[in-house]
């Protein structure tokens, strides 16, 4: 018994189910976000800095969702997610440079696949490593990748980095900020559809079952180690795709493109947005991109502001930004003088 309640408490501290609005309201919110995302460039398209920041938010969105897959949905930990983006970014650059006329979907898949292979290898020890040990392993990975990029000059050009040509389909290239924005948006949406399908499948349930109780998962015939390795591989794939998008956005990949601090920012954004919430992670990405843009002239303030935001959030919205709509609805009900309905926490599968 004591073991059971302890594990439940430990889990409760990290993973809380996201309480959600009724389906209708949620659909409305999703449609609203989609419309804003689509028409946004019509208003701001002339401002290339704003478009750059918006595209960066999309790229971070995919990166942070990929990390949340690992942390929130799978109960694992990665402090080196930027390392995956680096591999995806370099893979994209090398493919675009060396294979002329490569269709962009193949390049994106290639970058994702190359990163997935590394994710698979990094995932292999997770059958035995957990908690702090896994944190250290992934931290080491995140620190090592930029160093490898710096020193493997024959492949990466060292500190100079690789120039990434703009994405192209056939003979049309997409170099403008607005075109890059739409390119990233399309890739992000495709990835989100894939991620939602995975989460709703038996594989998604296996991820969460391993997170909640390895003993139960084992008894259900789920291969715990294989599931964790698959989780790492999947997370790395989407992080690699994000790295590809980032490479096109920056037009350059270098050892400085994916610093270790970026991994920590991603982790903070996962917590900020809400564990096991895809929408929360996207909100966290927007905040991260905006903080980064606003502090670009006064470097060094980014971690301070982000850290402060995380502390404030943990105080006032411990379940992350994803819990905000629910809280707001409850507050509205109270304000109208109605008795709030008893909160029935949603099931995990619905959360996905």
């Amino acid at each position: 018994m004591s073991e059971l309640s302890l594990s439940a408490a430990r889990r409760g501290a990290l993973v809380k189910s996201i309480r959600k609005l009724p389906l209708g309201l949620r659909m409305l919110a999703i449609v609203a976000v989609a419309i804003v995302a689509i028409v946004f460039p019509a208003f701001e398209g002339s401002d290339s800095f704003v478009m750059y920041t918006a595209t960066q938010a999309l790229v971070y969105g995919l990166a942070i969702v990929s990390l949340n897959l690992l942390v929130g949905f799978g109960g694992q930990i990665s402090l080196g997610q930027a390392g995956f983006l680096a591999i995806g970014g370099y893979a994209a650059a090398l493919l675009a440079i060396h294979v002329s006329g490569l269709p962009i979907p193949i390049e994106v898949l290639g970058a994702g696949a190359a990163t997935a292979v590394i994710g698979f290898l990094l995932g292999l020890p997770t059958g035995r490593l957990r908690g702090h040990y896994l944190a250290i392993l992934t931290l080491g990975f995140g620190v090592a990748i930029p160093e490898i990029a710096l020193n493997w000059t024959s492949l990466t050009q060292g500190r100079t980095g690789l120039t990434v040509p703009p994405p192209r389909i056939g003979n049309t290239i997409f170099p403008t900020p607005t075109e890059l924005y739409y390119f990233s948006l399309v890739v992000l949406v495709i990835c989100l559809v894939a991620i939602f399908s995975i989460l709703a499948s038996s594989t998604g349930r296996a991820f969460a079952a391993v997170r909640d109780s390895e003993a139960a998962a084992t008894a259900m015939g789920i291969n715990v180690t294989a599931t964790k390795v698959l989780l790492f591989t999947t997370s790395a794939f989407f992080a690699g795709v994000a790295g590809d998008l980032d490479a096109h956005l920056q037009g350059l990949v270098s050892p400085d493109s994916f610093p270790f601090s970026l991994s920590l920012f991603f982790f903070a954004a996962v917590v900020l947005g809400g564990l096991a919430s895809v929408w929360g992670s996207l909100a966290g990405a927007v905040i991260l991109a905006v903080i980064e843009a606003e502090t670009s002239s006064s470097s060094g303030w980014e971690p301070v502001i982000l850290g402060g935001a995380v502390v404030l959030l943990l105080l006032f919205l411990p379940r992350g930004l994803a819990d905000f709509p629910y809280r707001a609805q409850q507050a509205l009900r109270r304000w109208r003088g109605r008795k709030p309905r008893a909160a029935v926490p949603p099931s995990r599968a619905e959360v996905s």
């Binding site: 018994m1 038996s202 909640d212 003993a215 139960a216 084992t218 008894a219 259900m220």
Partner: protein
């Protein structure tokens, strides 16, 4: 028939099971009783494939299945409901059952969930509630129902009455009786001697060894044995 023949298990240097043999004839309910640390759960885990016995054999219908891991054992028809229920608290009851049917073909899942729920009508009323919102007794029912998802021929229950109120304990044992009517062989690990009332045969373990075994009725009637090993 399921049998464990003279099995030995240890966790590192610590011996947990020292030469235990049990037999569960087809369609029977057998009960393994004993105090904490007697080796009950370890014996069950060895049968389920979660723990590898250091020595001895586990056989099903005479075939040696000692070395099979948990998921292979499940395919062979041996399902375990682990100790402490282990309900996925944030999952709905339906999703808990779906996880239980992880090895099933996806298009058989819905039909099997309906069959299992017939056995536990109460779960049917709670299908969309999170597992964590159920009472302890209901969670145990869900844990058993989840283990039944793959239509096992042998059901292993690890202390299903743990932490339950007497009335919920009774309901769990009644459920075992209903499962028995379906022809499922059940191995019940318990500290509560009431389990003997739904069992055919009982084994009493102590310090990793078999202390006593006999027809469940007889063990249940043996005042001295019950007081010494089974706490009432």
């Amino acid at each position: 028939m399921l049998a464990a023949e003279d099995i030995y298990c240890s966790y590192g240097p610590i011996d947990a099971v020292l030469g235990i043999s049990i037999e569960a004839p087809e369609g029977s309910v057998i009960c393994i009783l004993g105090p904490n640390g007697a080796g009950k759960s370890t014996t069950l885990k060895a049968i389920a494939g979660v723990v590898r016995p250091r020595k001895g054999r586990v056989t099903l219908e005479g075939r040696d299945i000692t070395r099979l891991g948990p998921s292979r054992k499940l395919s062979e028809g041996i399902a375990l409901a682990p100790e402490g229920r282990r309900i996925l608290a944030d999952f709905s009851v339906r999703d808990n059952l779906r996880v239980g049917g992880h090895l099933l073909n996806r298009n058989k899942l819905g039909a099997r969930i309906r069959e299992v729920v017939e056995l536990f009508p109460l779960l049917g009323e709670r299908m969309n509630q999170p597992g964590g919102s159920l009472s302890g007794g209901e969670q145990q029912m869900l844990a058993i129902a989840r283990a039944l998802m793959t239509q096992p021929t042998v059901l292993l229950l690890d202390e299903p009455s743990l932490g339950l109120a007497p009335i919920a304990t009774r309901q769990v044992f009644d459920a075992v009786a209903r499962i028995r009517e379906q022809g499922t062989t059940t191995v019940l690990v318990e500290q509560n001697s009431l389990a003997l009332t739904v069992a055919d045969h009982g084994y009493v373990l102590s310090e990793g060894r078999l202390h006593h075994d006999g027809p469940a009725q007889e063990l249940f009637g043996d005042e001295r044995l019950r007081r010494a090993y089974l706490g009432g």
